[in-house]
């Protein structure tokens, strides 16, 4: 029961994007970054060779929540922030299913923060895509838990005084076993990250920088637009020195042991950090903080990937062991447990 079951027969191998596309009109604002994410996910899924009948998408409330209606898989559009809880029930009950959670910065980090961190901690076999647009879109433009301090919105006319979350650091702090970040309009990079997330056994957390062109346009321009994106994206690759900006700059160990952005030319090669996704979480945590905001050079890619028992599988194992030890449950025996007496 604990091993990933064999995939169903039939459609496997002949799947296309169409097999994952629901026959519904997509209703995000024209130009919204969500369109690109949807297209990338729909195009990527066929390569898993898993029938859409075995895939479940679960979402919460917010613009991202609509995602489930556009996927021709099994789907639950849940309630605000609770998608990880619903998904935990689904994935734990049915380790044979492939469960994906779609959430946003408000849904996943504000009202649903508790469920998110506990799903990560437990290492439930779910893939969580967090669309971070640093704003509340569906409720028409209030600041979110990832909005920068000073952000002027409808609910903060004098600027927000909240300090934002760093979603990657939060996921790492929650002991997530897979943590990555990608960008809505970089189909190739997102596909690569999705591929690794899908292959990961357990909870995978993927933050996707997503442009809300209506309420927070341009929040990630420094990273997602050409040409400046080329200069500011720090693309993490396991086992490789962390060099970016067309080889000009790197992430290096500074004099005090802290990570710094430095010029490759003036940095001794042994000071350039070599990325290691399997190592201690402190490296990933430091990489999450190379910038405070996506307005400076920022890491994308997989920060961390480690193995830990998968939640539903561990639970199944307990059931197997208990059954081995006590024999399969016998209801009649259970009802007769303890002191009994007979009245004739």
């Amino acid at each position: 029961m604990s091993d990933r079951p064999a995939e169903p027969d039939g459609v496997v191998g002949t799947l296309t994007k169409k097999d994952f596309t629901a026959d519904r009109e997509v209703r995000w604002c024209p130009g919204c970054g969500d369109y690109a994410i949807l297209a990338t996910v729909q195009s990527f899924l066929p390569e898993l060779g898993v029938s859409p009948d075995r895939i479940v998408f679960v979402s919460g409330i917010g613009c991202s929540g609509r995602f489930t209606y556009y996927m021709d898989t099994y789907g639950v559009h849940g309630i605000h922030g609770r998608a990880p809880a619903l998904a935990t029930g689904i994935a734990t009950a049915r380790p044979d299913l492939h469960v994906w959670v779609v959430t946003g910065d408000g849904d996943g980090l504000s009202i649903g923060g508790n469920h998110l961190i506990h799903a990560l901690r437990r290492n439930v076999n779910i893939k969580i895509l967090l669309f971070n647009n640093q704003i509340y879109g569906l409720t028409k433009g209030q600041y979110s838990p990832t909005s920068e301090e000073g952000k002027v919105t409808k609910s903060t006319p004098f600027g927000s005084v909240d300090h934002p979350f760093n979603p990657i650091a939060l996921a790492l702090g929650a002991e997530a076993t897979f943590v990555a970040r990608t960008i809505d309009n970089d189909r190739q990079h997102m596909t690569q990250v999705l591929r690794q997330a899908a292959a990961h056994r357990g909870a995978a957390f993927v933050e996707i920088y997503q442009n809300c062109n209506v309420f927070n346009d341009g929040a990630f321009d420094l990273l997602r637009e050409k040409p400046q994106g080329i200069h500011n994206q720090i693309r993490l690759e396991h086992g490789k020195p962390i060099v970016f900006d067309e080889g000009r700059r790197c992430v290096a160990v500074g004099d005090n042991g802290r990570l710094v952005i430095a010029d490759v030319e003036t940095t001794p090669p042994d000071r350039i950090v070599v990325h290691d996704v399997h190592g201690r979480p402190s490296l990933a945590f430091a990489l999450a903080h190379t910038s405070d905001r996506p307005t400076e050079p920022t890491c994308i890619g997989v920060f961390r990937e480690v193995e830990r028992p998968v939640y539903g599988e561990a639970m199944d194992r307990q059931i197997e062991l208990a059954t081995q030890r006590l024999g399969p449950g016998d209801l009649d025996q259970l009802l007769h447990s303890g002191d009994t007496w007979v009245v004739r």
Partner: protein
């Protein structure tokens, strides 16, 4: 010396002591010996909210009451005939409840200055006349226990710990309880800890022999077995009956049980019980909060398991959002509310039945759902199966109401034949239901929608909290919303076709007053009605097991009587429903003291209503 043996029909004993004195265990053991003897019985554990309340204080008193009889009884009794008080605080806390002229057995050793002060006694109640009119037995329980276990080389503190077994032994002698039941249990429990085992056995026997040999006690009592239907019996608490009922529903439906819950008094008991039953394929998950517990259970239901969550009032507040989603998703799910005294944190260990209206209406929007209320500890078993049956058959979340009293108290229970239990057919959808299409909200004759679990080829569908039309597509159309609202209501209302009518107990058919109840007041109502009838008067009783929808004949029943009296452990919630639904001028009777209603209190009230 031969001592007199007198026969008694029914006896109420209350064991009371400090939280650390082991009174619940003592009560439990006495209960088991009593059950095996064949008496009918009912118990009422009553303990403080604090885990380790300061020793010797009145609010640290833990008590256990049992009524046992040679006839059918239905309540743990109003006023104890016998109080066993292990210290002054226990005497202080419990004396008022003891019947006039009742028997009081005290641990004399505990009545020292320091303990008297802690209990806020200014003089020793054993000497100042406080106990005049009672039959008082002063037994130096601590010192005799210490002497009895002397040879075992225990520290004094350890030695003293066995004094509850001394008390148990003494009371067991007084009421002729079999000793082997207790001794066997001690063997099972402490067999691998010889010193503890020996100490407990020595103390128990010392207590028993103390009764038999000293001249202090001249008489012991015999309570013959109560007549009972033939069968195999056991003693069962509401909590374990509920747990077994859920497992039975899982076995009889073939659906794996998935129980997600967050620790809360008094519902945690259920989580503990179920988490031991892994070999039944039971998945238990202790969630991060009440909301998640509901969400996880609902997710499990979506995935084709029997999703159940359990909690108490404060948790119900938090689960309302998810229950609302379950109403719209129209998936089977059971939400168990073991009610306790509220609002807010209220009195966590004390009983109340004040979540009825919340179960029916405690969600935003029009969100009807079935409600079932268990009414005796043993009935918790059937109620769990019934809630699961309705949930699965009608594709709906169901609230199952229990309460602290039902959960903690116990009674003899005739063990049912497994084959006699209802079969629950999940009727999973296996193929398209509209030509080649699958419409997730196409309804059957019960207005229930298909349950198509992920993994079923070709039945992919997307459901969610947004309003949808009958084909399952999202719809913001006003008239459609009205139609769907009516459909959801009609679906729940139609469950009335699938439940038995309300039965009335009106032995001579001439009663003018009907006592209508729900939940754990069942025993009290039956006991009170019996007393009224013993006076040669007529009274009818009926008990609602299904609170939504009501049985079809409910209106007919309540309109057939001149007066309808509704006793409740709340401010009159069922009374409000009956008045609103049937325009009947029902009279409420409330008790909200964290304790069950006493049969005597209710009897008085019935007599008043008859005369008015």
């Amino acid at each position: 010396m031969t001592k007199a043996v007198e026969e008694r029909q029914r006896v109420v004993i209350r064991f009371a002591g400090d939280s650390g004195d082991g009174m619940q265990l003592t009560g439990d053991r006495f209960t088991n010996a009593t059950a095996v003897l064949g008496n009918d019985l009912a118990t009422l554990p009553d303990f403080p909210a604090e885990i380790r309340a300061p020793a010797g204080t009145v609010h640290g008193v833990s008590a256990f009451q049992i009524q046992f009889a040679s006839e059918d009884i239905t309540t743990p009794g109003d006023h104890p005939n016998v109080l066993v008080a292990m210290n002054p605080a226990a005497l202080k806390a419990e004396l008022d409840s003891v019947e006039k002229g009742g028997t009081i057995i005290v641990n004399e050793d505990a009545f020292i200055q320091r303990n008297l002060e802690k209990a806020h006694y200014t003089s020793n109640p054993l000497e100042d006349g406080t106990l005049d009119g009672y039959q008082v037995y002063r037994v130096p329980m601590t010192s005799i226990t210490v002497r009895a276990v002397e040879e075992l080389g225990l520290s004094r503190k350890e030695a003293e710990r066995s004094k509850n077994m001394f008390a148990l032994g003494l009371v067991s002698w007084m009421y002729g309880r079999p000793t082997d039941v207790t001794l066997n249990w001690l063997q099972k429990k402490f067999g691998d800890k010889p010193q503890v085992y020996d100490a407990n056995v020595a103390a128990f026997k010392a207590g028993y022999n103390f009764g038999e040999t000293t001249e202090l006690f001249g008489t012991s009592y015999r309570v013959p077995p109560a007549p009972a239907e033939p069968g195999t019996y056991r003693n069962v608490s509401g909590a374990s009956a509920l747990a077994m009922g859920l497992v039975a529903a899982s076995v009889r439906s073939g659906l794996p049980l998935f129980y997600a819950s967050y620790p809360i008094t008094p519902a945690s008991e259920l989580l503990h019980e179920l988490s031991r039953l892994k070999n039944f394929g039971v998945r238990t998950l202790q969630a991060e909060d009440e909301i998640a517990a509901a969400g996880i259970a609902l997710g499990a239901s979506f995935a084709g398991h029997l999703g159940v969550t359990g909690t108490s009032g404060p948790g119900m507040d938090l689960k309302a959002e998810t229950i609302g989603l379950a109403v719209v998703l129209e998936l089977p799910m059971v939400i168990i509310d073991v009610q306790r005294a509220g609002p807010s944190t209220g009195m966590p260990t004390k009983t109340e039945a004040s979540d009825l209206l919340m179960a029916l209406f405690g969600r935003h929007g029009e969100s009807p759902m079935p409600v079932v209320a268990a009414y005796t500890p043993g009935n918790c078993f059937d109620a769990a199966i019934e809630a699961c049956r309705i949930a699965v058959a009608h594709r709906t979340p169901v609230v199952l109401l229990s309460d602290t009293f039902l959960s903690n108290s116990s009674e003899p229970w005739r063990i049912p034949e497994v084959d006699s239990l209802p079969v629950i057919d999940p009727r999973f959808a296996t193929g398209p239901n509209a030509g080649t299409e699958f419409l997730p909200y196409l309804r059957d004759e019960n207005l229930a929608r298909p349950w198509a679990v992920p993994g079923t080829p070709g039945l992919r569908h997307q459901i969610g909290g947004l309003e949808k039309d009958e084909s399952g597509s999202i719809s913001y159309d006003g008239p459609n919303h009205e139609r769907m609202t009516h459909l959801r209501a009609a679906k729940v209302a139609k469950i009335a076709d699938d439940i038995p009518p309300l039965e009335v107990d009106d032995p001579d058919g001439s009663a003018e007053v009907l006592v209508l109840g729900w939940g754990s007041t069942y025993g009290t109502i039956r006991a009170a009605a019996r007393c009224v009838r013993e006076r040669g008067l007529s009274v009818a009783t009926a008990h609602l097991y299904h609170l939504n929808p009501f049985p079809k004949n409910t209106g007919e029943v309540v309109r057939a009587y001149r007066k309808v009296l509704i006793p409740e452990m709340n401010m009159g919630q069922l009374a409000m429903l009956i008045r609103a639904r049937y325009l009947v001028d029902a009279i409420g009777y409330s008790k909200i003291q964290g304790l069950p209603i006493f049969a005597g209190e209710l009897e008085d009230r019935i007599l008043e209503v008859m005369q008015a």
